[in-house]
Amino acid sequence: MTSLERAWRGARNDWRLHLLSVFSVAVAFVCLAASLVVVFNVYGIRQRWQCTGRVSVYLAPKATEEQVRGIESALRQSSSVAEVRRVSSEQAQRELAGDSPDPIVTALPVEAFPASLEVSLSESSGHGIDKLAAQLGALPAVESVETYQSWVERLARVVQGGVTASAILALVIFGSVVSVVSSTIRLALHRRQVEVDVLKLVGATDDYVRRPFVVEGAVQGALGAAVGTVFLALLFSIIRSRCDAAFGALMGCAPVFLPWWIAVGLVIAGAALGAAAAFISLSKSLGS
């Protein structure tokens, strides 16, 4: 009888115990996968904002029509610029007042809203935004240039924080998985003590005794991770079907689930953790 067959027989006899363990591991992996989904999406938004940049070129009040046309023309000829839109002071006030019914905004004089050129950069512009902003800022007709890089930097900090939080969460979850699986395996070992005693009596090596339990631990970890990830995917698809438009409007892109390689990585991590937990707990138990 191979280790797999022995593991299958053991799991079949103690299926309730194993089911409980798989469920506990699944709950832990739902938390981990959820945090990864959040981090992955925030990272995606940051990447998108960073790559498809937008620049507001605020014109000086004394800028002449000729200077503004010159800047506009030069921008349109640049390969990194996708679109240029000229916004007058009146237009800026209307746009802001349209979005905000605040009477204070509508009462402000039109001079409070500087005219601007709204520049949309192409996706290939990459890290050339800073250079372009510096060149535009040096022109006498330009008062200031807003590249919105501070938002990207803030998002980068959010992503960094999310990664750190996920790493800590992963450690906690890995610890809980090890604890759950090793407790389950110890209990399974206790329930199959006669089998283990007989195996050792007839000359089985520790490795031979340990192998089916390690297989059981690995399967528990892998199944728990798989169930947790699939459950989260279902939950995600339900939420997305209801809130996709709202997310799109808010973030500028639709939320996505974890890529397949991360999902597979979670299952592999679950299996490895389960096997390691079983191995460690059995090393103590078989040694005694």
């Binding site: 009888m1 006669v194 007989v198 195996l199 009596l201 007839v202 000359g203 520790d206």
Partner: protein, 268 residues
């Protein structure tokens, strides 16, 4: 009886990675030299026990409860350590075996217990096949040898039955089949008839004798005097932590057992 001394099947392997120890056949199978064992310092179980067992012998080990019969057997298959002294199995000192070597020692020793130690929810076949599976024997050979072992203990054709539903006597037969299926050099029986009625006990003893006829050394621990009277064999009486050797059955040792005043022979 020194049966099976030249048996080609005698191929003891005592260390990992070795095929078998060729010198082993020329040594006494078992030697105890000044073996001490105590679970409590003030109450030693064995005090300088000396004993030598030749290959192919049948030996009763007897003595009152707590005399150390089970301890003696457990030390043989390295389930207990020796406090001092030596136990040599085929010339190798059991106490000095590494943790990795102990399974190889146990593959040469079959053990039968009073409480049978079968896995109750497994079939008879699965229980008996275990020693062969540990050895990595091919499935077809396993089935064949398990069938033969079950025939020898009178349970031919019962392989598919669940071990837990068999009677006490049948379970003990399954345990014996499991102990002999790997063709061990030595068979240890720790009160195997303790839970059986007298007739069944004699039947089980008969089984051990049949196995012994094939050349297997048998150490049969029992406190059942009637069994030793039925079959006069060499008896080792554990008394006061030492072995009193009675080579030809209990009748010869009656004075020893009654009053402890005479010692038939103290094994050097």
């Amino acid at each position: 009886m020194q049966a099976g001394e030249n048996s080609p099947a005698f191929r003891p392997v005592l260390r990992p990675g070795r095929r078998f120890d060729a010198l082993a056949g020329r040594r006494p199978i078992l030697v105890f030299e000044h073996v001490h064992k105590a679970y409590r310092a003030d109450n030693p179980v064995l005090r300088g026990l000396n004993l030598e067992v030749a290959r192919g012998e049948f030996l009763f080990v007897t003595g009152p409860s707590g005399a150390g019969k089970s301890t003696l057997l457990r030390m043989l298959y390295a389930a207990e350590s020796v406090d001092s002294g030596k136990i040599l199995f085929l010339g190798r000192e059991v106490g000095r075996l590494t943790r990795e070597s102990i399974p190889y020692l146990r593959r040469n020793i079959g053990v039968v217990f009073q409480d049978v130690k079968l896995v109750p929810n497994w079939s008879v076949l699965e229980n008996v096949a275990l020693p062969l599976e540990v050895l990595g024997v091919a499935q077809r050979t396993v089935r064949q040898r398990v069938g033969q072992a079950l025939e020898r203990v009178g349970l031919g054709g019962r392989g598919s039955e669940r071990a837990g539903v068999l009677s006490g006597g049948e379970q003990q037969r399954v345990a014996i089949a499991r102990a002999i299926v790997g063709e061990p050099a030595m068979l240890l029986a720790d009160e195997p008839t303790g839970n059986l009625d007298p007739q069944l006990a004699v039947d089980i003893l008969g089984l051990f004798e049949d196995i012994h006829e094939t050349g297997v050394t048998v150490l049969f621990a029992t406190h059942d005097r009637s069994l030793m009277e039925v079959r006069p064999r060499r008896v080792v009486v554990l008394d006061d932590g030492k072995a009193l050797d009675v080579p030809h059955g209990l009748d010869e040792a009656a004075p020893v057992l009654n009053g402890r005043t005479q010692i038939a022979q103290r094994v050097a």
